[in-house]
Symmetry: D2
Subunit: 376 residues, 4 copies
């Protein structure tokens, strides 16, 4: 079985590695220009933001799991005197707080909604089942670390990426006050709505259930012309980047699915000139035209499914023997009660991952397009 | 300015070329296994299905443009005695029916909703503006041709890809009768709904406006384990493939955005065993778990925006000079009245493109995974 | 069987297609910057230079085959008003002068020294055996066409690539007078030596035998810093490019194999400063240090084996049945007398191919390195 | 400045990282099939073989440097219960024995023959100059570790790769007794010749000078059909792999440069059938025909230049200021006396690197070709 899907990006190219309960997780970034300022602290700050069980104000986050690790990053290569050297940047986070014993019964029993069953078939039983192994959400740690490096490139162009929860557990944010995002445990741009989301999440926790939500991402300061026709369109790469995040089930840009019900006369973003500069009269497109950034804000949304690990008994199957020559096996029905403490709603933890993946997409396109003014 | 976005797929790798009003469009497929039966007729049949202005029953399609070309494909290489040889398969369709004169005023004036403005900036005015050039929907012709080759591989595994319009101009299909898809001009699985869609589209045509819609795609017979963690997940590649189609603004798989409001206990697809074989009790996931096919049907939907070329006067900008050293230019406000005959709703023409791109994704993953039983 | 080896270059990326006796040969170039001047005549001129049977002065070339085709190139896409648009450039040459009948007996009989046997096994008998099919030297036509485009990029930097025959049929050029290269049929920088080479080649022709030789390539004007550590070193990519040419069996750069017998004190190229500029005291390295161009002339040599198609009877094998399930077949001993008219020494025809592949390598590295001053 | 040259292989894909005096060196292997047996010991054994200063019999190796580090490898991911899981395999070796102080004067002064000058220009002074940084021979440690994993795949097919020194310091091996390779400090297949090589090397050491040599590599058991036309030919990839090793200046396969003086009637390897199986009568081609393995032994040679670090005073330049906006700088002439203890002849240490890179090439092609019988 071949793999080869663990690299993202062509020119700013990130290869990630690591399992939830293995020795370490990390990534190698190949293609980062030389001369970019980069310190361990810059990356650590991003990692801290995605840590489980910690709210922006440092309290226990009601919506997320309590596994608390230091998640301390180490820069192994590619940086000298706090500047990148143009050589591969290897980043590593050692696993320190694994409770592998929690997963002893999951070697052949497949948790519903998880990747256990499909990994087991694909890799014919060769699988680190502890904590989901490679399919664990913990894998996104490497993405966030790489995203922190990409952000250093974006900063040189004045590009800013901000994601936030606009819906969780069935409750929507009523406003987009970006200053409130880090003030509530949901990372919603609306503290009041966040309080309601949190209350609903606590009800679901008590009921042993879980919730999903919707995350929106806003990119400001992006120059026009990023993206590569016809397959590597900016929105196509963003869609791939988002759907590559475990719990994401949908992506839409600009008006998205609502555009399907719109008319051409409504949906077209007309333009006019002001002082010789082109100005769009609206942004139904979400900042992308023909797969290229238009210079407007880029706005897209992703659908996050409810956390799969719930505390209600579930029915599933257990593989009852080895795989045969033809790659098939036999299974038996079994009941499953998931142990341990888990997230109830992933949205606040996925917010930094959405930002990181967006940064990776944009940094890659910047380096693929020499028309963008040079970094140095 | 670099490009390099015109190849799709790693192992079944398709590079497309061509502009709407250039000499020819086509593609080179590298990585198709040897020994696959392939004739010109197989590809031509697929191309005929995407031709503009022709309904499945051979009548003029109300919803689409009247530019009618033969779109005759020629196999230039890679096939000998009606079998692939493992060498690159080059396919070519010559352009024969261009009315380039229609576009004479569009060299510096940018049609709202189109890629004209962004291409002009990215390529600094080096642009074949006729009919949108490379950004024309006509580019999908090469995708459909390549998809026909990919389908020959899928057929060996019993994989079947079927797309259809489930919503257009604000009207939804009420059923999924796949036998009706080719019986109506909308390619909807519901002849009655299709008639209503068509009526609404005629109203919009009279009003000089246009409509969007939603296309669903169903894949049956797909084995478990296709897809490559963690970035090249099956759903991630499908999302990229779909968003790479010009008019597509959203993608969702399984319950998609509805999953965001679901509970874990509702959304998890539990399993049981029947005769030693694993059986899913539902398919909220849409056939993909952890980025790998689960063996269930794969179901996803894409949002199609309304056609940009409308017959109402629109305000836009016109570039009034050459690009400067810094890559910027000056613009002036202008009015635009688009000429010629255009589509009103793209859905029926995008249906074969959705199928083709899906086939490219699946064929690629089959060749990336040696665990799938061999073709020969 | 997967293929996928028909693309060269990462950023200036060329995918070739076509068989010796198929419909057409050609290539798609993805990644050529927009705004480069490009006409059919520029490419045609390069193709004419590699045509068989024609000496620089228009006479029949003694050393090469008499198959004379127009080899007329057509630009299918990517160029508008004689300038590249940044979209894929498809180039095509139709085959017009095939004598397929000459190869009727070669469907199952494998010519010694040719790729017939290995292609037959790899593709399990799915093979266009006419004229060697994909493995024919005629495939290099697409490389030369692409190289002509790459040369337009190099010209903007003042980079010049010149290859020439320094040894053929056992006779060496005694000087490097580049002005004489196109004055003799061997493309040697020494007309007198060329006359001797030609005389020896005529003897071999009369004897039904063939000869090899050595080609040297000189690159002037290359800026320092091209190449990408650690695997895509400039010399590593040049070596790959050269060995990818059918008849090439060796590559050496700078002192090459002679460096193996040298001492460090002899082989190191010391430096001094002149007016603040660094100057090398010698060029044993051949213009590449640590895989990066040093700013000196790049000099390398390739070994060309004798033409495989000789007119003496040869012993070989013939496949006597179909391939079995396990991929093997049975063979029988047979005698072979090759028909038709063939090259005696490939050197003069490989000279333009060496130049083209070198141009592809350099153009790719230029586009991979934003430190090189911009084209526009 | 973009980089992106630190990955080797398409399907068995290795990305290396690390500098000579940084925190760690290592690699991530993406694409290794699941189910392959792999332990730390297997990799450690390969690494021990390339350690400096140690002969096969455990004594100090006269020809190589005395920097002795444990070079202990750690498997960070991708292996569970001593079997690969199909997920990325990250390998890491921490640097423990750096004497960075030795290099304090080399931040702006460039050692002749080294990559110092070209890296400095390419990365505009952003360079870890200690021990050559990324351009150090120590980088090959990651290649050898990855090669040990690739070897586990080759072993399943009975493919064996053996490299050895056939010439060093001007003295040639007179025989090919592979059993003697690990019996002498030169890794020559001829103990007597090795003794002479060693004696000459000691003379050069005393004189403060250094030597080069030639390494040959033999691959047995390789099935026919490996390699991918037309650019990724087996010999083309081998040539790239070899030239990507720092000190290598030439590559030849089979008769190599000698083929240039051969006749077609001598150089063609004729065939006959024995018991229905094809048998070659000679192996002038070196086991590759048309870029595909022929089933014969693969034999190639590489030229190794003399060690650049010599103990004689050398003239070089020193950069005397920062780089300007245009990427240029000013330099002054200076004298250099290299400090520390260094290799005199690299051949014995490059032998394992040649083997490792060959294993990477072959494992990659095996995974690219589904015609090879499956691993599981």
């Amino acid at each position: 079985m071949k793999n080869n899907g663990n690299t993202f990006g062509n020119n700013f190219s990130v290869t990630t590695f690591g399992e939830s309960h293995g020795v370490a997780l990390g990534c190698v970034i190949d293609g980062c220009p030389a001369g970019i300022e980069l310190t361990k602290e810059m990356i650590q700050k991003a990692l801290n933001r995605r840590r489980p069980g910690v709210t922006p104000d440092g309290k226990l986050n009601a919506s997320v799991t309590a596994r608390t690790e230091a998640d301390e990053v180490e820069i192994l290569s590619g940086v000298f005197n706090d500047r990148t050297t143009g050589t591969p940047i290897a980043l590593e986070v050692r696993n320190t707080s694994q409770h592998s014993g929690d997963y002893g019964n999951l070697d052949l029993t497949f948790r519903p909604g998880h990747a256990d069953y499909t990994y087991d078939i694909k890799y014919q039983g060769n699988r680190d089942y502890r904590g989901g192994g490679r399919s664990s959400g913990r894998e996104t740690l490497a993405r966030v670390a790489a995203g922190a490096v990409a952000s250093q490139i974006l900063a040189k162009y004045g590009i800013k990426v901000t994601a936030y929860t606009i819906r969780a557990a069935g409750i929507s944010a009523e406003k987009r006050d970006l200053s409130q995002i880090e003030e509530n445990a949901l990372r919603a741009p609306d503290n009041e709505a966040a309080a309601k989301m949190n209350a609903r999440i606590e009800e679901l926790r008590a009921a042993g259930d879980s919730a999903g939500g919707v995350i929106e991402c806003l990119v400001t300061g992006c120059p026009a012309g990023l993206g590569q026709p016809v397959f590597d369109k900016l929105d196509a790469q963003l869609a791939k980047a988002m759907l590559s995040i475990g719990a994401v089930k949908g992506f839409e840009i600009g008006d998205g699915f609502a555009a399907a019900d719109s008319l051409g006369s409504q949906n077209n973003d007309s333009m006019h000139a002001e002082g010789g500069r082109p100005v769009f009269d609206s942004n139904h497109a979400g900042g992308v035209l023909g797969g290229l950034s238009s210079g407007q804000d880029i706005i897209f949304r992703v659908a996050v499914k409810p956390v799969q690990s719930i505390f209600k008994p579930q029915q599933t199957v257990r593989r009852s023997g080895d795989f045969g020559e033809d790659g098939s096996a036999t299974y038996e029905t079994t009941d499953l009660q998931i142990q341990g403490r888990h997230d109830i709603c992933l949205c606040p933890r996925i917010v930094p991952v959405v930002e990181a993946m967006t940064a990776l997409v944009l940094a890659d396109f910047i380096l693929r397009d020499s028309n963008v003014s040079k970094i140095r």
